[in-house]
Symmetry: C2
Subunit: 598 residues, 2 copies
């Protein structure tokens, strides 16, 4: 009956009886399943693998995904309009943005029966901008926020970890079009706020961090991350909470290092360092700290379709962050120089490369080598570096006096314990998984694809764009990584396939069966999403399965049913309590606040 509802939710569905449902639980996960979410999604019958990085979502998995989608849609509807765009794209729109080439092997490509080139959508800036350029004519039509929830395809080179690194996944992606930067700021902030609401409603503990813009381009980007050892990103954060950034973007304060005293006339002089090509060996041999050494890392970078030489000089104990370097020079690919290239640009072998005597390009368009000086070397003096000569180093090398560079920039990896750039407190570095990402794109796509509108003065202007994504399955996997033990996992009620399982401990007892049915019906009438475990199995098997599959609450209908009592088990804490049967619905209502639900 429609009136028997909780906060108005219609109860139209039939009772979900476990005995009739397809919930193929497994005692063991396959040997290649290492991270918790991979293991448990398989064991709980949420997913099955079809191919490398390609998964089928079975009944429970799909049900959880649908609930996540429901929350995302409800929140996104508050700030934007939902579209649904094609998954197959003509080559032309990717050519128009310049990304047909730059997306490389990550983009699935195919030909249709007439031989036309198509791509499978890995993101939708191009399609959205194509609509914008054809349909938007006036500032009066701005701002627009358009979103969709849809399958994306990426030909990930090494699919792994279950749903964490896949070749096909669901994404909520949205795109904003504004007349100016102030408008973009507002669209960005709206997304920031909505994303926080979405992740909170899904029960996630997340952190927003500064991030690199990667293949998207653009001026500002922020990731939403969930800490977990299953993550492949590294997050640098200040324990005081005033700073958090992806390692690809993070900076730090470094203490001032003591320089070596000058030796001889204080100018660069050769030192014989036979066989000492590694920083540690040189430092030991010369009795210095690696912090007094200049490390040289020589790359070839693919930029605007051409490979060009890029060399980084940084402190001996530091390492290059290649994402920072790529962003700095606009490289779509990076590789180390091979011996012939070292010979060409340094006339020297690996281990003895240095900055003195090489020609640095004046700018990015020059034919010379790009030389990048990491900021940690600025102001340093009398350093050790390779001499561009086998078995020799130089001492007394002072940046600026003894060599020049193309750009100074922070291109190193921040390390744990370095100072927070805001307050100086020692930083933490921890693994995390990305669940959302918001970008200020700027005019990259609108310019490339020729979108323009007339402003209030009748002048043609190029709209400014933002791009925003949420990995739908990432919400599920991140939650499982946060909430699991050796027996299984538990999901927040808002995204669990069912909120509560009513377990009939002994189905050979008709009294227990009818009581179990009544309790389940009572909870359903109160608006809860219930699964009734009516299987002809031992109680132990049922408890084990219930603990495995992510349902946050269990109501056991067992021997105390005769006294009018059932047992409520809270999965996250493994605590249980006896409850009067007619109190169970109101008790549950206290546990799962209506406000957390779609």
């Amino acid at each position: 009956m429609e009136t028997e509802t909780r906060a108005g939710k219609q109860v139209t569905q039939n009772m979900h009886r476990w005995s009739k449902l397809f919930v193929p639980t497994l005692r063991e996960a396959p040997a290649d399943a290492e991270v918790a979410s991979h293991k448990f999604l398989l064991r709980a019958g949420y997913i099955r693998q079809l191919g490398a990085g390609i998964y089928s979502y079975l009944f429970l998995g799909n049900r959880s995904v649908n609930k996540i989608v429901g929350i995302v849609r409800e929140e996104m509807d508050k700030i934007g309009q939902e579209f649904f765009l094609p998954a197959i794209h003509p080559r032309e729109i990717w050519e128009a943005s310049g990304r047909w080439t730059t997306m490389g092997d990550n983009m699935f490509r195919l030909k249709d029966r007439k031989g036309a080139d198509l791509a499978l959508g890995m993101t939708h800036e191009e399609v959205m901008t194509d609509i914008a350029r054809k349909e938007l004519r006036s500032y009066k039509q701005l701002p627009q926020i358009w979103y969709q929830i849809q399958t994306k395809f990426r030909d990930e080179p090494r699919p792994k970890a279950g749903l964490l690194r896949v070749r096909q996944f669901l994404m909520k992606d949205s795109y904003s079009f504004d007349i100016d930067a102030a408008g973009l700021d507002k669209s960005f902030d709206l997304h920031d706020a909505v994303y926080r609401r979405i992740f909170s409603r899904c029960g996630l503990q997340f952190v927003a961090v500064e991030a690199d813009s990667g293949a998207m381009g653009g001026s500002q980007s922020q990731e939403f991350m969930v800490y977990t050892d299953a993550g492949e990103d590294l997050i640098v954060s200040c324990p005081t909470g005033d700073y958090a950034a992806n390692l690809e973007k993070a900076t730090s304060q470094l203490p001032v290092e003591e320089d070596l005293p000058p030796s001889g006339d204080g100018l660069p002089e050769l030192v014989h360092t036979p066989g000492k090509g590694a920083i540690a060996d040189v430092a030991e041999y010369l009795q210095i700290s690696p912090k007094q050494d200049i490390k040289c890392v020589a790359y070839m970078a693919l930029r605007a379709g051409k490979w060009l030489p890029v060399t980084v000089f940084l402190r001996g104990d530091h390492s290059v962050n290649e994402a920072k370097l790529s962003a700095l020079v606009g490289a779509v690919d990076l590789r180390s120089m091979v011996a012939e290239e070292l010979e060409q640009w340094f006339h020297a072998p690996a281990g003895f490369l240095g900055p003195v005597g090489i020609a640095a390009a004046k700018d990015l368009e020059s034919a010379e080598m790009l030389v990048i000086l990491d900021t940690a070397l600025v102001g340093r003096k009398n350093m050790i570096c390779g001499a561009n000569k086998l078995d020799y180093h130089l001492r007394n090398v002072t940046p600026g006096r003894d060599f020049q560079w193309t750009l100074v920039a922070d291109v190193r990896n921040v390390a744990e314990g370095e100072g927070c750039p805001v307050c100086g407190t020692p930083l933490k570095v921890a693994k995390a998984v990305e669940i959302g990402h918001i970008f200020k794109l700027g005019k990259k796509y609108t310019t490339a694809m020729g979108a323009s509108v007339l402003d209030e003065a009748g002048k043609e202007v190029t709209p400014i764009m933002g791009s925003y994504g949420i990995g739908i399955e990432r919400i599920l996997t991140a939650t499982i990584e946060q909430n699991n033990d050796k027996n299984g996992f538990w999901l927040p009620a808002a995204i669990a396939p069912f909120e509560v399982v009513v377990t009939i401990t002994n189905t050979t007892d008709p009294k227990l069966v009818s009581t179990g049915e009544a309790v389940a019906a009572q909870l359903e009438a109160a608006g809860f999403d219930v699964i009734l475990d009516d299987r002809d199995e031992r109680a132990g098997v049922k408890f084990k399965d219930a603990d495995l599959i992510g349902i946050p609450y269990r109501v056991n209908v067992g021997k105390r049913a005769a006294e009018g009592k059932v047992e409520l088990v809270i999965r996250s804490t493994s605590t249980s309590q006896d409850v009067e049967m007619d109190q169970i619905a109101s008790l549950m209502t206290g546990l799962i606040p209506e406000s957390s639900r779609p």
Copy 2:
């Protein structure tokens, strides 16, 4: 507030103001848009084309599609479990079913970065059966009905007519697994009933017809069709309602035809028919009816990877239904014989082919030509046919006496006016579009892919399958084809992007604006899905747009607002009435019964 709901629907969304929404209406449709749904979906800003047969759904279009999906999901949940399967499939599973080859150019194919062959899912029998063969072990796990709502990809050779013939579309597809044929009958009947509910709730007038199983295989299939001249299927139906079938499956009763009297000794004899290759010419020349002539149609059929000759003999005024013929001989492709092949098999040119003297295969595995005799020739005598000799025909030809065949079967097209096979009433033939299709597949996939379960006696048995599809966008397009006039279209409230538009006729009058806001808020509080037309446009422009975009009800807030009155316009009938402002919600509640809604 949560309590201010209609039948409990929470009102959490912001008001939808047309001035802020992206509804790019067009005065004219592109010249290539011929059918009503194509024209109006473009003009109403529901869709935009990205490529041949590839469309983006904009705000209104997506909103309508989401409502259809909601109805389909709610109804399907009553009989099955929702999954979500991958769109990219490894070649292996399509090889396992044998369809990697037979799907031909209709299947999009691609290679991943490692060179592995993949297909884009055009249907999911293979993926579902792959799950079944790995997970189902016992009759206790049966029956199962698994469904999904998902994008399908088909490389349609001639995309056209907007969303009617596309290369990417949404489909609800489901698959049943049963222990025996009686179980399959039940799963089939459950789908039949649910499909009828879905289409009724979507407001469609549809007809269920017998259909060909096509590339799916299987023993029984039924299509759900909507009559419209935009359709590409032909439906044969009896006005009494006792028979309806797709032309590809339809049969009829034919009146008994009078045979010619024998001439001469009554045995076949040559007649000189110089230049009379066409049936009509022969009939005129010999002063007979085409009904007394045997037509010969010679094909090459692709079957089990080989092209083999198949010739049909049928009455001179009949035509071959190639779908029937393909199903009969198991052909995945058919083409006419070329001159060399006619020479090889008939030693004669086109126009003078006949059955006498040719060798007919005994069965499908024979190396001879398959000869199919259409049932309308059974029992006929003294007919005219080609003599397998240029410029000659034979007379006195009697099937069975003068020639043999491989199979007798109904392979002709039924024509309007022929007798209903049930009651004899003259049949109608009309165009229609398919919105759903349900198949009894049998064991084709479970056998080919090696699925089996143990039955009650512990014996291995192969589960029997059904396959069931609904074209989500077809529901939208078929509805538009049924409900349109020169100004636009109207959708039933259940699937319209909004149920009602509140039109402020003059936004320069602040009183009207606030009244319009209040009326819209009142309707929203009562649970209606409302769009408020607050645009700074002339009333005429607003009325035109509202008439165009498919919203079934319009409330005009205009000059009589001062008297507390608004005007309710019903789009389907173009009728209007003045209504007291505080009565509008209860009046609307009468017009849109809650029971029709998700």
